[in-house]
Structure formats: C-alpha cells, structure tokens
Subunit: 234 residues, 2 copies
C-alpha cells in the first residue's frame, strides 16, 4: 500500500454552472479531496442538478450530495417564485439588485456546507462567487464572506475549539468572466457540460437572462463560441 | 375600519420546546405580529412539531411555516443520526460539547429565518437560545449571534441597503431556566403544551437527557411540578 499523506478535504458548492464548475476544477487541481454539494431548492433551472452530477463525476469528486431546500415556501425570488426572470438587462447600467436575487441563498447554502464540512472534517469551503461580472447580489461580496467566516468559527464545535478553523475560498472573486473561462479551460473544464441559464427550456439556455448575458460576454471576450445549447437566435 | 398602526413583524424560531414557546409569548406580549418558523430536520423528537403548531395557534401567530431540512443526510449528531442520546449527564461537571450538538444547526435555522424575514418585511428574528442553563452548544452564545447579525446585514438586500436592518433577539440569553419559566408563566404560557425531550417515546419525555434535566431542574427551582408527561419514574 502506498503511504501517501491524506489529501485535505474540502466542500465545494456546485450548482453545475460555469463558475462553480471552474471552482471545482481549481480545488481539484490544488489537490483537495472534493465533496460537492448541490441543492434542489425549487429553482426553475433544476436542469443544473443533472449537470452538477455529471461534473462531480468527471472531476472524481469523493461525494456529491444533493440536499433539498424549502426555499419555494419562502418565495420572494424570480428563481423560486412566480416572478418573471428579467431579460436583456443592460448590466453596465443596472445597479439595482435584480428580482433573481434569492433572499439569504448563499447564507443558507454556506450554512449547509459548513455543517457538512464539520461532519467530514473539512476546514475549507469553496464557493464560486464573483464580484466583477455579477448581478449585484449582496451575498457575493468579499465582506459578506468574511463575516460568514467569523460567524462560522464562532458557531461550530470545530471552529470554536480551534480558532479560524473554517475558511471560505472564493477563487473567482476578483476575476472577470473571461478570466474564469480561461482558467477553467487551462484546467480541462468542458464548458458544454455546464448550465448557467436562469430560465431554460429543457436544456436550452435563453441567452437573455443576466446569467446568459454574462456568460456569452465572457466567451466573446475569450474569442471562442460558448459550447452550451441556446434556443433560437441569440 | 380601525386606523391602527401596523404591528411590526417578527420571525420567531419555534421548536415547540419550553424556551422557544416562552420567546413567542414574549414577542407576542411586545406587540409583534408573529411569523413562527419550525423545521422538520429528521429529529428524533419530531413530536415537537405538533406541539409547535398548537402553540403558534394558541398565541395567534400570523403564520406558522414548517420547513424541511436535509440535516439527516449530513448527519453527525445524536439528534439526527444513529448515535445514542446521552442520559444522566452531570451538567455542572460536563464542559464538553455533547453529541446532541447538531453541526451548524442554529446557523442553518437562522439563515432560513433571515430569508423569510426579508420576504415578509420583518427586521427582527427571535430565537430562544440561552447561555446559562444550556448544553454548551457554541451556536447559543451571544458572540455567535452578534457575528450572525453582522453577516445577515451584509448578505441580504434589505440589510445591505439599510445598515443594521436585521436584529436577532435572544430575550432568554442571560436567564436561568427558572427565570424563563417564571417569565412564561407570567405571560400565560401553558407549559403542558411544550415538549423539550431529545429522546421521547411517543409524547412521553425521558426525564434523563440534557433537555429534560435542565427543564426539570428549572421547575424544581420555581417550586412547581413540570406539567409535561414523563415516562416511568423520574
């Protein structure tokens, strides 16, 4: 038997989108034993869960856990409630937080990641948030993640018995979408496996929601065609 | 029609136990329009949810929402996993965090409360944590709640657009169990409606887990008999 040191474990929040898939590729390349966590939360884009499962397998994740969240009962978002997903927004000019914002979503997802991390003995949680090419969600900002980390270390057994035990890793935080894509490509990500659209029809992306617009702009900047399927003319 | 000012709304985390029921009585007496939130998380003491429903009705809560959490899939606790609930612990001498600790439970529950509060326009979340007669859970301490509040105000739309919008209220934090019971009695709480035991048999409490021991000690100190049903001789 080999006498290799055990790889450190990490929980990776994996939606099956472009960003979180790139994060999984980064964590995997950094030698982490990856425990991928996805959520079925009543999202219109539930197709992303099938993609997440394939992606986790592709990157030899140790486990892929899909948890059910009752966010639909809470409502309040275009992603979980009967509210239309906005299309064709001018992302340079829109400074408001859009209706696709899901109240406290990253707090809820990170809280579950924290619980799982504590149970499996992982100290690091990877999340694909980004504060450059993003929709203005407050729970994608570095100050939010810093505050979450402080809270996580006070509110858990592992964190309160060993100071600064838990760390949130957000390797995409300061990257543009084009930089994220280039990073992923260099790590062997096949972006045809990923799904980003908030309002898909079967597995075809709309090409017009914020997530599609940011993604398409990123691929255009890199100078390659997005391999994801889109419906109609975009 | 009356022209009364609208009562402020508050989310009350309601387990159906002694502490959270007292908190609901306090919030109700303070004039809040109470939105009670409970969780079905694979807990052995699921009987508490029936009690919570009755208690919410008794206090004329505006709504009572029971959300499903997948904590059983995460495991790691005697309350959600195949681990025995410890009995007859000497709570004066035990300084370790017991196996009934559920990793990140209060973080997860408060995160959902935060989401709901944002959707219904409530700024206050009430929780029945207590740092006097408690089991040593890290997520019951004031420093945890303070850190959660900072995080909540950074990670939400309402919090990030109006500073210090969300507040966590923990009115029992510095009370002994006896003080909690006296407070509840003065506000009309019928403690026979509440359930505290971690390891009940039907609706009969064991009388020996931490929750039962703390509760029984509280009633003894007040000088009255706990009206909850216990099994066998305690």
């Amino acid at each position: 038997m080999e006498n290799r040191p055990l790889s450190p474990r990490a929980v990776i929040l994996l939606s099956g989108g472009l960003d979180s898939t790139t994060v999984l590729a980064i964590a995997s390349a950094q030698g982490y034993d990856c425990y991928c966590l996805s959520f079925r939360y009543g999202q219109k884009q539930a197709i992303e869960l099938q993609r997440a499962a394939r992606i986790a397998e592709h990157f030899n994740a140790r486990r892929h856990l899909i948890l059910q969240l009752d966010l639909g009962l809470i409502g309040g978002s275009a992603l979980t409630d009967n509210i239309a997903v906005p299309k064709d927004r001018d992302l340079e000019r829109c400074t408001d937080i859009p209706v696709t914002y899901v109240p406290a979503r990253n707090t809820i997802m990170l809280a579950h990641a924290l619980a799982w991390a504590e149970v499996i003995g992982a100290a690091e949680i990877f999340i694909g948030v980004n504060a450059v090419d993003y929709s203005g969600y407050p729970d994608c900002r570095p100050e939010f993640l810093e505050a979450f980390t402080v809270m996580a270390n006070l509110g858990t057994k592992a964190g309160s018995t060993a100071g600064d035990h838990f760390q949130i890793r957000a390797p995409l935080m300061t990257m543009s979408k084009a930089e994220i894509i280039r990073t992923g490509l260099s790590l062997g990500v096949d972006y045809s496996m990923t799904h980003s659209c908030y309002d898909p029809d079967a597995d075809a992306a709309c090409g017009r929601c914020d997530a599609c617009l940011l993604r398409l702009r990123g691929f255009a900047e890199v100078g390659i065609t997005d391999p994801a399927p889109y419906r109609g003319t975009i």
